[in-house]
């Protein structure tokens, strides 16, 4: 599976690039699911892959569709490889690594939008400008969506509209995105005509 191409949309909708090996004092790579392949491709392009791997820390968790390429990443021989069962489980380690990191550390994020967005929020909270972080989308396109009404966040949204997992409202999934919340915005679709909810369509897989 190669990197995902998204239709051009509004300005706040995140866009992703392609991971390139960069010069740096250290390399922190965070990925989920098929994002592992972006890491493998990036390292395959590195002019001095062995030297880069000796200063690379990889944090990985399986993707929302169950893809788990841990074995291939573990076989790379990076200085550190950590497999977590979920992003939430990886978070304490990520925060600790960022807290200890020095300027000159390159950050690479790959996989689903939920993983990239949440990891990017941690990295920018640690003080690195978001434009200095490389990202590449691979794998599932399911979305992390915040209900603008109750503020609850629903993970792995597949249909549009969908029912908020917190307050139960039917929400239209916008492309409008918040970097601070690391989520797309969901807006009640039947506010003016209660009960008139269009049939949900699978838009994110």
């Amino acid at each position: 599976m190669t990197k995902t191409i998204f239709e051009p949309s509004i300005l706040s909708r995140p866009v992703y690039g392609e991971l390139e090996p960069r010069r740096g004092q250290g390399h922190l790579m965070v990925a989920d699911g098929e994002g592992a392949e972006a890491i493998l491709d990036c390292l395959a392009r590195a002019p001095e892959a062995a030297a880069m791997l000796a200063r690379t820390h990889i944090i990985y968790c399986p993707g929302p569709n169950g893809t788990d390429l841990s074995d291939r990443l573990a076989a790379l021989g990076a200085a550190q490889f950590h497999r977590a069962p979920s992003f939430a489980a990886a978070l304490p380690r990520l925060r600790r690594v960022l807290g200890d990191a020095r300027m000159g550390t390159q950050v690479y994020l790959a996989g689903t939008e939920g993983l990239i967005g949440q990891a990017l929020r941690e990295v920018t909270d640690a003080g690195l400008p978001h434009t200095a972080v490389q990202t590449e989308h691979r794998g599932s396109t399911v979305r992390r969506v915040q209900c603008v009404h109750c503020k609850g966040i629903t993970e792995d949204v597949r249909t549009d509209p969908f029912q908020c997992s917190h307050c139960g409202l039917w929400l239209f999934v916008r492309d409008h995105y918040s970097r601070r919340i690391a989520a797309f915005q969901g807006v009640n679709i039947d506010a003016e005509d209660p009960g008139q909810v269009p049939t949900p369509v699978v838009r994110f897989q």
Binding site: R22, R23, G24, Q25, L98, G99, A101, R102, M103, G104, T105, Q106, T124, A126, G127, L128, P129, T131, A132
Partner: protein, 320 residues
């Protein structure tokens, strides 16, 4: 009227700091408070030097919380175009002058977890204001200040006293030179570096940080260029239907202003982009001296920055 809004001031103090540097303090002529500013801001000081109107930018070095007056420090340049000599020789307490509202092209990046300031010589001035601001807001910072000797390192003693071990002095004649690579390699994630000093120092810090993997977004610098002198040349101003001559020691912007044409500007040092002007015809070579236009734009020759750039050739027509 172009440029930032002007303020009528009177010179309150003229204090020699060392052999080369003098500090000036301006207060409002009617005793009013001056506009507040942020660390890194500069003001443009107007000088009427025997009929030549000079407008030079100087960093505000006071505490941004103090709006009772503005302080600047000026290093005398004996071979410059004359602005610093005018400040040193002519400006005296009680003199009425005009300065601009503050403009900041070198602000603190408030996303930073830590600010690392690297100053060379007179480049210390914006950092004095930035440190006062960072200190007030409880932000982490560290200053590395390099000079040839202690006597030429203006304000070294006061800053060390005020900020203690957050101030590091690097003096050529005491052999305490800055180990830059070691310094930049040890900074915590989220540090932003700010550089103000001579051009080779800027390049040294930018190159070293970049080689270590620092992102360009975390590297900030300010370099005021003085407009270079050169050959006299002629320019046609199409919109105002005038033909002007730019003198050897005059900038194109100054010549446009001297002809009574109101042209936009802010920094007058090739950095801010405000004076960018379209070139309508050019038979000759534009000497681009700014660092605003990209190399591609400079090669194309359809834009010019009149505050810095000059011309050699037969004909230059500007949309002004």
């Amino acid at each position: 009227m172009s440029g930032a809004e002007q303020i009528p001031v009177v010179v309150k103090e003229v204090v020699p700091v060392n052999d080369l540097i003098t500090r000036f303090r301006f207060v409002h002529r009617e005793g009013r408070r001056l506009p507040s500013f942020s660390g890194g801001a500069h003001t443009v000081v107007e000088m009427d030097d025997n009929g030549i109107r000079r407008r030079n930018p100087y960093s505000l070095m006071g505490d941004p919380a103090d709006t009772s007056g503005y302080s600047i420090s000026v290093r005398r340049d004996d071979v410059g175009r004359g602005g610093s000599l005018y400040m040193h020789r002519v400006v005296r307490p009680g003199m009425e002058m005009v300065i601009s509202n503050p403009v900041n092209l070198f602000a603190l990046d408030l996303r930073a977890r830590k600010h690392l300031f690297i100053a060379g010589g007179i480049g210390i001035t914006p950092f004095i204001a930035m440190m006062a601001q960072a200190h007030r807001f409880g932000q982490r910072f560290e200053l590395h200040y390099a000079a040839r000797s202690r006597s030429l390192g203006a304000y070294m003693g006061e800053l060390s006293e005020r900020y203690g071990d957050r101030v590091h002095l690097h003096l050529d004649d005491e052999g305490t030179r800055l180990d830059l690579e070691r310094l930049l390699a040890r900074q915590p994630l989220g540090t932003h570096v700010y550089i103000c000093g001579p051009k080779p120092m800027l390049a040294w810090v930018i190159d070293t940080a970049t080689a270590l993997g620092w992102p360009s977004e975390a590297i900030h610098y300010e370099e005021f260029l003085a407009p270079p002198t050169g050959q006299t040349f002629e320019v046609e101003l199409a919109a105002s239907n005038k033909r002007i001559t730019v003198g050897a020691h005059q900038s194109l912007l100054e010549a446009i202003e001297a002809a009574g044409v109101d042209a936009p500007y802010l920094c007058r040092g090739g950095a801010c982009g405000q004076c960018e002007t379209d070139v309508l015809a050019c038979d000759g070579r534009i000497l681009h001296n700014d660092h605003w236009l990209t190399d591609a734009q400079k090669a194309e020759g359809t834009k010019i920055m009149p505050c810095m750039s000059r011309f050699e050739g037969r004909l230059l027509v500007l949309d002004r």
